[in-house]
């Protein structure tokens, strides 16, 4: 039987994933990826070796009787995830670093290094399911609709899929916690991690300031309407994301939302909720888990984590993919992911490059922007 590498973050989900595999008699090796340091000065970075996640993962691994190692992937993570995160904000987009990490860093690095340890399969604590058949492997939404994490995994290279296992994918979060308690795992009641792992304070603008220094993205600019009318000033467009209402100041006749960020002029464009609705989505960096669907296919697309999917037609496929939504959606945000599903099955996805409102859609009674 082949050896399985379990990616252990130190949280309850991956703890239980590891425990379930060990319990089932598999040859399991636990690994925690050291992705970044809270401190950026080299002298202090050594203390990062004691990150809580690593400590918890080690305690769990010891309790369930499996070896545990730390993979230092700081360089790759900084290049592929943190640098990208900063660059995206600098360009007026809203990145999703978890998507980036799962697609670019985590599983790829785990597989490469895992092979050296004789591991042919990788397991993680994601709430997704995977079906392996002779025709290929298919990623499915998790059994717990509330916790489903398929949205984050569209970037996984297709050739890795046959090697993946998601032991908690069928379970609900409360079932996972119950299993962890039964097993006496120290992580059983550990709170969910919410914020971006490398922005523990929750304020990503601090990170941008540190990494960008002086940059137009952090300089004052105008808040404008689509008409060009200046309605206010902002203190750096990097602080804004499409759909955002906070931070625009008040005193408007109607609630205003960020429609667009224009890095070239440092403008933040605002408008009404109606103006926020869009139905054409262009995605780049598309990745497919199987054969790409043909143009004209009707699938469901999820435009944000936790957003409900909307039916869409693939209009064209090329370097970019153009999707037309059956119904317009608010706040389609460049930088976020558009993930395509066929029912529960993850088909593929991409990064949202642009979005627009098509004129003269028959179900729309809104005036086009």
């Amino acid at each position: 039987m082949s050896r399985i590498l379990v990616a252990m973050s130190g949280g309850v989900d991956s703890s239980v994933a590891a425990a379930l595999l060990a319990e089932a008699g598999h040859d399991v090796v636990g690994v925690t990826m050291k992705t970044f340091c809270y401190s950026e000065t080299p002298a202090q970075s050594k203390t990062c070796c004691g990150l809580d996640g690593i400590t918890d993962a080690k305690r769990v691994a010891d309790a369930i009787g499996i070896p545990h190692y730390v993979f230092d992937v700081e360089e790759d993570f900084t290049r592929d995830v943190i640098d990208d995160f900063v660059r995206e904000y600098a360009q007026g987009r809203t990145p999703n670093p978890c998507v980036r990490c799962n697609g670019n860093t985590k599983f790829r690095d785990l597989m490469a290094r895992g092979r050296a340890l004789g591991c042919e399969r990788i397991a993680s604590g994601h709430y997704v399911r995977i079906e392996h058949t002779s025709r290929g492997s298919t990623l499915l939404r998790g059994g717990d609709a509330q916790k489903d994490q398929a949205y984050f995994l569209w970037g996984l290279p297709a050739d890795l899929l046959p090697r993946l296992m998601f032991p908690v994918g069928e379970l609900t979060k409360s079932e996972v916690r119950a299993r962890a308690r039964d097993l006496g795992l120290v992580t059983a009641d550990k709170p969910e991690s919410q914020e971006i792992c490398f922005v523990p304070s929750g304020d990503y603008k601090d990170l941008l300031k540190k990494r960008l220094g002086t940059h137009p993205a952090l300089e004052p600019g105008s808040v404008v309407r689509r008409s060009g009318e200046v309605v206010g000033e902002h203190r750096g467009y990097a602080g804004f994301t499409v759909g955002q209402r906070k931070g625009l100041g008040g005193g408007f006749a109607e609630p205003l939302f960020v429609l667009e960020v224009r890095p070239e002029t440092k403008e933040v464009v605002v408008g009404t909720h109606d103006e926020l609705l869009q139905d054409e989505v262009v995605i780049g960096e598309a990745n497919w888990h199987g054969a790409p669907p043909p143009a004209g296919s009707s699938l469901e697309v999820q435009l944000r984590h936790r957003a409900s999917p909307v039916r869409a037609t693939i209009e064209s496929l090329g370097a970019q993919v153009t999707l037309v939504l059956d119904e317009p959606r608010a706040a389609v945000t460049p930088g976020q992911s558009a993930v395509l599903f066929d029912g529960d099955r993850l088909v593929g996805g991409g990064r949202i490059a642009a979005a627009a409102r098509r004129a003269a859609r028959k179900h729309s009674n809104l005036s086009p922007s």
Binding site: R3, V29, T32, K34, A43, K46, C49, G50, L51, I54, T55, K58, P67, Y69, V70, F71, D72, A112, R113, R115, A116, L117, G118
Partner: protein, 383 residues
Amino acid sequence: MDATYLDYAATTPLREEVAAAMAPFASATFGNPSSVHRWGRAAYAALEAARAEAAEALGAKPAEIHFVRGGTESDNLALLGWCDAHAAGTAHPTLAISAVEHHAVLEAAESAGNRGAARVVVLPVSPDGEVDLDRVRLAVEKKPALVSVMWVNNETGMILPVPEIAAVVVAAGGTMHTDAAQTLGKVAVDVRDVPVHLLSATGHKLHGPKGTGLLFVREGTRLSPILHGGGQERGLRPGTQDVAGAVGLARALRLAVEERPLEAARLTGLRDRLASALPAAVPGLRINAGGAPRAPHVLSVGIPGVKDGGALLMALDIEGIAVSGGSACLSGAAKRSHVMAALYGAEDPYAAVRFSFGRATEPRDIDRAVEATARVAARLRTA
């Protein structure tokens, strides 16, 4: 699975004789050695007996032995305590350290340098274990100057020419410290023969207790405490002494020194068995510091074509062979070794593996290690 421990340079198990010697001081004879009463007197007597035992093993006087709480603390006290004691003058004291020092020396020197307490000079070391004595002379030209060079390098087992360096330093009017954590019981050390002023040791490398250490301070050497409190250990290390620890350290040290001639020969045999078998099993393998005189309990090798030295150690662990690479940090995330970089350059294409041997190591452990290393290295080269 049968596991083979070949990481005695990281730490060693406590010897039974040592545990037995320590036992009374964890229970019945628990007194504070500074107390006036009989409990205190009993503890004091044991502490001073331990001091005498340790001193004798090193060729020192009992008053020159200071018990501290580990090798790192001993190194820090030597370097920072010396800097503090020499901070009064206008000139910056000089701290000259070798490029292959343990982090306890390296970081202590860096810290002194960063806060302006010393000018730090790093002395290069060749892969053959050579230190340029002219550079040493140059470094100590400006007084006051402390030279700190470890006797046996922990990562490679390389023996550095501490007696020669100490002679140069003393002749030039400098102060000499050596970190002898990996040396005692492996290489003959007698401070009557080697003019070091300060010498650091720890118990846990000698089958003694963890968290114990000593600093030999030659009579007349000026040193300030780095911790402040009661006046224990002649004012150099305040805090109620760990009597059991001191007793354990002294006993482990004495036994190691007494047994050294035979044990060192036995360990050398094991080391050489490994050194001759590995190159045949792993093509292109390099014996690190192969041209240097080396301590009997360590063999460090460089494995070519393996990008990820950390994975090599993990894979060996899965195969049941416990070894080290460079220094590992708390979490076990492998960092590039400053020692390998100092000897072979930052772009050295070899992954270092350190095998180290102790009292329980037998020839069949060596043979197992050879087989496992061959298997793992072959897999990693293709991975």
